[in-house]
Amino acid sequence: MNYRNPGMLEELAAAYVVGVLRHRARRRFERLCRDEVLARAARRRWEDQLLPLALALAEVEPSRNCWAPIEKKIAPAAKPSRPPWWQVAAAAAIVGVLLLVGRLTVWKPPQWQAMAVLAPAKAQPLWRVERSADSTRISIQTVGSIALTSDKSYELWILPGGGGNPVSLGVLPRSGQLHRLLSDRQRALLAGAAQLAVSIEPPGGSPTGLPTGPVVIVAPISKPS
């Protein structure tokens, strides 16, 4: 099919927006929209043109308890509105003083403990993951040769112990080592989790917050000593 033919693109976009493309054709058109600005423009045009049909429907107020699960789900990643500049400056000054005092007195480098070795089935390990003794951060060291085109990333996930959706630990490095500070939620989930997973995602990681590509590694987590 010649997607560069404007008439064809319009017809596909219209069928997509109206909702009559079959499942595989839908997914193909979504992929096309990711790559082709003309496809995105055609889709947006149809979305705008048919929008009045959606807005003509009589509004339906959601139940009172509908908001709470949304709030709960977004809470770990949310941050409050930005504080005034003087609060930021004051906080920075206090942190500076504390860091200086810490360096002069009791600062110690974090102690690292082995956490997981990430290796595809029947293949050499690609990364080694360690956690700090206080479980506030992880260190990811590349130990194998990463063969992945630049339009893809490997993303690391916690598989929560009691089931539930995987939670991202961020994109894995292609080389070298990186340290990552864990959120309270990530720490709590890691404490109860038995496995990590790695999936292949678009550059920069999954756009949805959940794995979208194939899971290529599942690795057990060593318990902290």
Partner: protein, 185 residues
């Protein structure tokens, strides 16, 4: 009561969501959840399924708010599209072929695209769509509306309309072509 659509306010709230401001999502929910739930209920039919999908839609809006800037269209259009495509995916994954009762389709026969008053530019789009839909053959109009508003597949429409699948496909294709030509004129 129908809530007004303030495009600039919606855009600002989406920008704040992209900056991880949870209060902005709360406000966006207050302004748009009743519209999105209407869209979802029309496709998914039960309140429980539609409210589950609504939660999912707002979490997607939160996660994807950073991508809105490059959409270059109306914020409400972006949000309605997220809701409609989510509902269609859920419907295709879960629902066997069903025939809607005549009563459920009663609204579909009156094709009205009147909506809340909002800015002039959108009022013009709405008037143009209304005019262009009225120019379509009745069968074409009915098929386009069943697909768009009710999320029905072409097979389901064929069953509902008691017409061969090929005929329904042709009606929809020609209906959309005529709409496009009319909207561009």
């Amino acid at each position: 009561m129908t809530k007004a659509l303030d495009d600039r306010r919606f855009e600002e709230l989406l920008r704040r969501c992209a900056g991880r401001d949870a209060a902005a999502l709360r406000e966006l929910y207050g302004l748009s959840s009743a519209k999105l739930l209407a869209v979802l209920m029309n496709i998914l039919h039960t309140r429980a399924a539609a409210e589950d999908a609504l939660q999912d839609v707002f979490i997607r809006i939160w996660q994807q708010a950073g991508q809105y800037e490059e959409y270059k269209g109306r914020a409400i259009s972006w949000m309605v599209s997220i809701a409609r495509y989510r509902a269609i995916d859920l419907l295709r994954a879960a629902r066997p072929m069903v025939v809607l009762e005549a009563a459920e389709l009663a609204g579909a026969e009156q094709l009205q695209v009147e909506g809340p008053a909002d800015r002039a530019e959108f009022g013009a789009t709405r008037a143009a769509l209304q005019r262009c839909l009225e120019l379509l053959a009745q069968a074409q109009r009915q098929c386009v509306q069943l697909a768009y508003q009710h999320g029905m597949t072409q097979e389901q429409i064929a069953l509902n309309e008691n017409q061969p699948l090929g005929t329904v496909k042709t009606w929809i294709r020609r209906g959309l072509q005529s709409l496009r030509t009319c909207m561009e004129s």
